[in-house]
């Protein structure tokens, strides 16, 4: 048994769900998210052993791929050609209706702000790590985070969902967000 492949297999098993969620939250399409994640992981397989930080590496690939998706007619076609019906639970509970309202609010966010929020609060990346992944400055990331939080809070409020302020964990961002709202 190839020890490198076994290590890769364990890595995929441990990270697959997180990466699926990351891709979906960024692009809002499960099919594209799954295609992107599987393709990026297959690419990682080829480079396995030569990448110093596989998690960071593949996260960057996934985020860029889904962000770029709109500019990639080839990927769109490739994904669409393998359309499989999504399996979605019937909307029978308050929990699900709330989830739908959350999704609606989330996907009204500008893509840049949504991507930053997903990286920071779902993937738990720092400002610096997010900046590296997206190729932007830390200052831009802080600003995008603050604006994204402010926008999301407003969008969720319209759906009667309250968002707590991230005072303890994201003090700077929250302060910026308050300033934006107040200002």
């Amino acid at each position: 048994m190839n020890p490198d492949e076994e290590e890769f297999r364990r890595f995929v098993a441990a990270r697959l769900e997180m990466l699926r969620g990351l891709a979906y939250l960024t692009c809002g399409d499960w099919q594209i998210a799954e295609d992107v994640v599987s393709t990026c992981l297959a690419k990682l397989y080829v480079r396995w052993g030569s990448v110093s930080s596989p998690e960071r590496y593949v996260t960057r690939m996934v985020v860029r791929a889904v962000v770029d998706e709109a500019r990639r007619p080839w990927r769109r076609e490739w994904s669409a050609s393998h359309a499989l019906p999504e399996v979605i639970e019937p909307d029978v509970s308050d929990r699900i209706t709330e989830a739908m309202r959350v999704r609606q609010a989330l996907h009204q966010l500008p893509p840049g702000q949504r991507t930053v929020l997903v990286l920071r609060f779902y993937a738990d990346f720092s400002v610096e790590e997010t900046a590296e992944v997206l190729g932007r400055s830390p200052g831009t990331i802080s600003s995008q985070t603050a604006r994204g939080l402010a926008t999301l809070r407003r969008l969720l409020a319209a759906e009667d969902i309250a968002l707590v302020e991230e005072l303890e964990e994201r003090d700077d961002d929250a302060r910026c967000a308050r300033n934006l709202v107040d200002g």
Binding site: W48, M61, R72
Partner: protein, 367 residues
Amino acid sequence: MHDVREILLMAKADAPPARYGVEDIVAAGRRRSRRAFVQRVGGVGVLAAAVATTAVLSAVNLVVPINHGVSTAVSAASPPAPTTPAPSPPFTFTFGGYQVGEYRVLAPDEVNQTYQTAGVLRDRKDARGKVTTLYVGTLTVYQPTTFDPAKFRVSTPMTVQGRDAFQYETQQPVGGWSVGGRAIGVPSDGPSISFTVTTNALAWQYAHDSWAVLSTETNPIEAVFPLADAIEVAERFTVAPTDPVPAKVPFRTGYLPAGFTLQSVSGQSLTAENRGMVTFVYAQPGTTAVSVTISILWVDTPPPDAVKRTSRCNPGQHWCATTLPGGKFWVAVEDPSQTLSDEELLKVSDDLTFATLEDPGTWYPVS
């Protein structure tokens, strides 16, 4: 009240069952590793199609022929003049793969009216004996009299195979990304940083007024092709004494726009170690301003139930895609100039009949 993470988890709470499991991804990685051992065109994958197409079209127009005639007659009083070989028939390969030390020159698999190209690999063995194969360069062999060495004459002169040769070095800005602050090349997923790399090219004459060029890759990690080694590889190059081998195409065309003929072949196998796709360009002779480019690509994650051939075009984007039965391959038909209509491109696509794509022995020789 929810925090942001709770909100995000809620948004993905009704995830559908995963379509791809760990073993699917490992299998896809194996396929990718087998067929696309380096990312020659910025990453094997869907984006590569457009990049490769652009490269092919650019290359067709790259070289300005300086003399399409045969060599001139020599008077009896003149000293013996070197003989320029006759050009090989269109779309034929005139040399084979060969090995020099750690370097492997692959059999050529790209050809047009002006030149053939072959990849150059290096099998490097580390101290523990583990061999790593890298794509380090490209060998381009021009038809006699078609290469203009003017650009190279300003560079370092030398002698290779007993004739004038030149080494040309240039700095190229490229996009890439870094891991731990170290630039690792040009990914398929979009550049994030820019840096400059040194590209070397060695031009020499394999026969009188018949030029070949060995150029290194622009990927900084893979650019391990020192000039001294390139000279060794160049010195060993020979045109095969046997008959030229016609290029093959994995399909027959039914419909093409009026006057369109084959202009460029890129790839002779979908299972070669340096190939993830093949591309064929059709246009009116002498110009690729408007072309039909047909590419065949592997599907990374084949669906289990692809049983029929389906085609569709993206309205107004001048390209159509066809998924073939079995789900292993898809075909892209495009007009990069965005001149031809979707209907015309779809007709080209629908009228293609395919050989067994995984078996180059069934492909059709260019007639």
